[in-house]
Symmetry: C2
Subunit: 272 residues, 2 copies
């Protein structure tokens, strides 16, 4: 075996994996390795097949002078099922229960491997659409936004509930927090989102949907378009939700404080 | 060329890259591909050489029954120099200037590719040490903590200035904000950090070092050990800094509001 090809395969794999959704001209690879474009094309066939066989994602080829190849990160359904079931079990651990029926989830939101999987799974739902930015609200949505943004190769922007001098001019809105029915305020730095952007909203947790609805209103202030909504955990909510079109990975059906039981089931990811 | 080996090289590359600092037994790879351990060893030699030649990192082999191979993510000095100089130029853009001499940096902290590079560069400084967690303070430190944690395969924990019901019991401390000399409060969820953990502190920005010093005090409350401190941007500070042993990528030497000039130079990364 010629070492040359194996080196190319290894380096092309790492390059493509670290640049999802970036169209790479074949000439870029040809120059990088001093190889013929025909060899690069052969390499890409092998990489594409392996990516697909191993549930990593796929390669898409765009023909023509402005063309090239791009890696699309896709979570396979079996992997998603495995991951979601493990997540359900972990979230159902009784020691997560906090006073007031809240659940402690910060450990999950600080694990790189878990976040990577969440990012890949949510990104898979929005892969085929034009997206310019991911939006979330501080604090706990941030790791999820970053993970999704990584897989889609777009920036993420952070909506805040408090003002900071380091954000410059902001656009702020009032919104009704869904479950508590309180009026709250959220704001986004003016320069962080371009007019007309196509935006995916993500968050760690959704009950009535008030916070996410607030972000939707904020999008309007920027003349931005909502592409989709993704949450890690949704919670059963008796009244009408403020948001209906969303993707969730897991759903908390019921929390029994007295028996210390948390009932967690698959989210709507597989239905939508 | 046998397709088998190329498939292995591609899949092993992606597996190792997505599990930095994880010791993978050779038998795991042997079973995954139905290959002899001797073939896996040969593959690893090729991958290691390519990783080193291309500035991706290296593979470390631990011999023996409990041994295996692990990928260590290492930023090469030339790549770091290139990245830091680009960063200096971007941070010096006059339109970043905000009232009060503050700089707008949120765009950089929302770019996945930039964050990945920052994470890899800072992680490189702490690669050889035992680390159990990365610590930062909300909000703008979070993306950096996540990026560094990814390259070191450890969880990150988020210190907050406000209380949240979803954090459970917290340990809080008062600290003196360095430049404004105000007394502030920060807290960390009790269960987020195990006693005796080895911790790297990271943040986006440091001037007098008050916030980072606060986190150091918080570590003591958890009987945790400080392994190191990494910041993206440090700012020139006339008085004595509260923190002296840290790594910075860039340094703001001077901000001239009137002339709209920001002087940005390399941080101490290359000296330390």
């Amino acid at each position: 075996m010629k070492i040359r090809r194996s080196e190319r395969l290894i380096d092309m794999t790492q390059f493509l994996l670290s640049h999802p959704r970036k169209l790479v001209p074949l000439t870029m690879f040809a120059e990088r390795y001093g190889s013929a474009k025909s060899s690069i094309s052969e390499d890409l066939v092998i990489i594409k097949k392996t990516f697909e066989d191993r549930g990593i994602g796929t390669l898409e080829t765009v023909p023509g002078a402005a063309g090239g190849v791009q890696y699309i990160s896709i979570a396979g359904n079996d992997d998603v099922l495995d991951f979601v079931h493990t997540l359900c079990n972990r979230i159902a651990e009784p020691n997560r229960l906090l006073p007031g029926g809240y659940l402690y989830l910060s450990d999950l939101l600080g694990e790189p491997v878990t976040l990577k999987a969440i990012g890949k799974i949510l990104a898979t739902k929005f892969n085929n659409q034009k997206i310019d930015a991911i939006m979330t609200v501080a604090t706990k949505g941030i790791p999820i936004a970053q993970a999704v943004a990584e897989h889609l190769s777009v920036p993420f922007v952070i909506v805040r509930r408090d003002s900071k001098v380091t954000e410059g001019s902001t656009v702020s809105i009032n919104y009704v927090s869904g479950s508590s029915k309180r009026i709250e305020k959220m704001e986004l730095s003016k320069r962080s989102l371009a007019e007309g952007s196509n935006v995916v909203i993500v968050d760690d947790f959704m009950k009535a949907g008030g916070t996410i609805n607030g972000m939707k209103n904020l999008l309007e202030e920027f003349n931005a378009h909502l592409v989709g909504i993704g949450v890690l955990v949704e919670s059963e909510y008796a009244e009408e939700r403020l948001v209906d079109d969303y993707v969730s990975l897991v759903k908390i059906k019921n929390v029994n404080m007295k028996e210390k039981q948390i009932e967690v089931v698959d989210g709507n990811y597989f239905n939508s």
